[in-house]
């Protein structure tokens, strides 16, 4: 099969270490056997089901559609060639996310000397202070989001957007739960700052419907 991205040839070589052909043992019982057509079809279907969310996660990390596609491609290839490490019945999406983000950070280290100018370019480009109707200008929000450090964007996506629990995110990111909470908090604070969202003002300007909901749920007026 031809691969468009020339870097993937190297990536595939990296995935396949210099081991003797005879060392390619059959999958152990309980592991995924992709030589079985039914198993292979099931895995492919699951990979396909996760492709869009993988790509969305990749976009949040790379901030670039083309780079995200390359990252997803690398992730899929690595996942396929490492399926013997995947335990059937466990969360494949979480496993794929882990491979994707590890690949991203590995690539980032390799390209450490390449300085992205995107962050500097985006700084200060927010249009106007957002309306306090709960619907921020999505373009401005993306711009603000893109200015955050990779580690904060990652956690904001995993927990804030996708709703993963702290422990799940911690496992995927290979850090402690406290680190996840800290990154989440700092990321939200920075986003609030960039979007000029003030907690007191937000409460004052919350519309009557929201106030009614808050009241129903036990909040008293401040």
């Amino acid at each position: 099969m031809m691969i468009d991205n020339p870097d993937l040839t190297a990536a595939a070589a990296q995935v396949d270490p210099p081991v003797a052909t005879s060392a390619k043992a059959k999958p152990a019982p309980g592991t995924v056997n992709t030589t079985d057509p039914e198993s292979a079809a099931r895995v492919k279907a699951e990979l396909m089901d996760n492709l869009k969310v993988l790509r969305a996660f990749a976009i949040s990390l790379t901030r670039n559609g083309s780079a995200a596609d390359d990252l997803v491609q690398d992730t899929v290839l690595k996942a396929w060639s490492n399926l013997h490490k995947f335990e059937p019945g466990t969360n494949m999406r979480a496993w794929l996310f882990t491979i994707l983000r590890n690949t991203f950070y590995s690539n980032r280290r390799k390209a450490a000397r390449e300085v992205s100018d995107s962050e500097g370019d985006m700084a200060g480009r927010l249009a106007t202070k957002p309306a306090h109707d709960g619907h921020l200008n999505l373009r401005d929000f993306r711009t603000a989001f893109a200015q955050l450090p990779d580690e904060q964007r990652e956690v904001l996506m995993l927990v804030g957007a996708m709703g993963h629990a702290y422990d799940e995110a911690a496992k995927m990111c290979g850090v402690r739960i406290g680190t996840i909470k800290s990154r989440l908090s700092r990321g939200r604070e920075r986003l609030a700052e960039l979007m000029q969202l003030d907690a007191d003002e937000a409460l004052e300007l919350t519309d009557r419907a929201t106030s009614a909901v808050l009241s129903e749920q036990g909040f008293k007026s401040v």
Binding site: Q73, T98, L203, T210
Partner: protein
């Protein structure tokens, strides 16, 4: 917009965080709702044809590694 009221944070802060999370979901949903590039779909469809033998110790696939250090699991070399 869902507002979490389970802790003792100021209500205004909870509203701001809910706004932020709501917009995080919006951009994620927007990106996830986009059309997949054909080459990615094709890649998955043709996976069995690739000569990618099972790798040993490929960095980044050890999801069950202990997380006893800051960012330890990011990449294992």
């Amino acid at each position: 917009m869902a507002v979490s009221l389970k802790d003792n944070r100021k209500p205004g802060r909870a509203i701001v965080e809910a706004q932020i999370d709501d917009n995080l979901r919006r951009i994620f949903d927007e990106d996830a709702g986009g059309e997949l590039p054909a080459h990615l779909k094709d890649l998955v469809a043709r996976l069995g044809e690739l000569d990618t033998a099972p790798a040993q110790g490929e960095p980044g696939t050890e999801v069950d590694a202990e997380t006893d250090g800051e960012d330890r699991g990011r990449v294992s070399r």
